[in-house]
Symmetry: C2
Subunit: 189 residues, 2 copies
DNA sequence: AATTTTAACTAACAAGTGTTAGTTTATTGT
DNA sequence: ACAATAAACTAACACTTGTTAGTTAAAATT
């Protein structure tokens, strides 16, 4: 039972508020009020509002990068790799639904770390694309428009943060399995 | 060839900026600067920043509501209705990619019209859900988790605004057809 | 018991916010 | 040519923003 440092409490509080209203609409006074302290007190623990956002986004982006690295090293079919990616998204999102909102909607407000973030995102998408392309080449995946397939899957996975909190009754493995099936086999009977 | 009123120019300029940085991060001075005038001059044409956002979002939401109404009245299979919905999203999004960003990310900053927007969105989702449910009942659609199917399709359709601007080479009917196929039949060979 | 550290506080700052009031200038319709 | 309108302007407002400086009180360490 590890208890939160004060800095982590601030980041968690901010993350929740950022999800509800977006980074720009949340003030330091909002964050402080939610914690029952004054805005100036936050600066005993964090450097700036900007650093809070960076912390939220970069740590999540790195989780995805690491997850992708593992998937690429796993020796299974490309379809199985896609299932692993679905599981990766479900797990990371289930553990930090609030943070995923910032990752998706507020990355453009990063400053010094914006280029680094974009690099991680680009690499991630390219790896995803590569798996799909190999799947097509190996006759595992239909030879339809690669970019549309990529876009469709990524859109669904990136929107999980909006949806997981509303359906707490579904456990994560059940969700991963169901979602994999729908993304891979469609909904047609 | 109908030419834009000054008010429309302002709304269009604002819509573009809102997509790049989000509603809260865009100032009236930003909008004015992009038009080469002073912020105060905007108020000769619009009532408030808030009204710009409302205008963007509500008109789009009503377009979707009207489109759905037409789909529901069309006498085709439920799978065909889903294809019509895909086409609806592709067309509306292609005509207003910038506005779709506000619809997706800034609806929570609506004020007087927030409840109305939520009502439109709820009704839309329920109609979508109803088509899927009928499809399941008629053995057109697999009897998998309804909510996951709904979420997956809607997520993809709602993210179109991020993707359409990058792929201008693809025409809208081709995109609709491809996307329908992937959403309905999956990517599996 | 004395000292350092932690973490809150009050007060203030400079800059930026949406918006209003009043004015000026160019264009349009008579 | 004259009046009316459209659409820009300057100046200012009241308020909010992120952040800093300096202070205080309790808790932990010596």
């Amino acid at each position: 039972m590890k208890l939160e440092t004060r800095k982590e409490e601030i980041i968690n509080t901010a993350t929740k508020l950022f999800k509800e209203k977006g980074y720009s609409a949340v003030t330091m006074r909002d964050i402080a009020k939610a914690m029952g302290i004054k805005a100036a007190s936050l600066y005993n623990h964090i450097n700036s509002k900007q650093h809070i956002l960076t912390d939220i986004i970069i740590s999540l982006a790195e989780e995805f990068t690491n997850g992708m690295k593992t998937v690429l090293l796993t020796d299974v079919s490309n379809i199985e790799k896609l299932k692993l990616i679905v599981t990766l998204h479900v797990h990371i999102t289930a553990n930090n639904t609030y943070g995923m909102a910032s990752l998706n909607n507020d990355w453009m407000h990063l400053e010094e770390q914006l280029d680094y973030y974009l690099e991680l995102r680009d690499t991630y998408e390219n790896n995803f694309r590569g798996i799909l392309q190999e799947g097509i080449d190996n006759n595992e995946i239909i030879n339809s428009n690669l970019e549309i397939m990529l876009f469709s899957m990524l859109s669904t996975l990136r929107s999980l943060y909006l949806w997981i909190p509303k359906k707490e009754d579904l456990n994560t493995t059940e969700l991963s399995d169901n979602l994999s099936h729908i993304l891979i086999n469609g909904i047609n009977k």
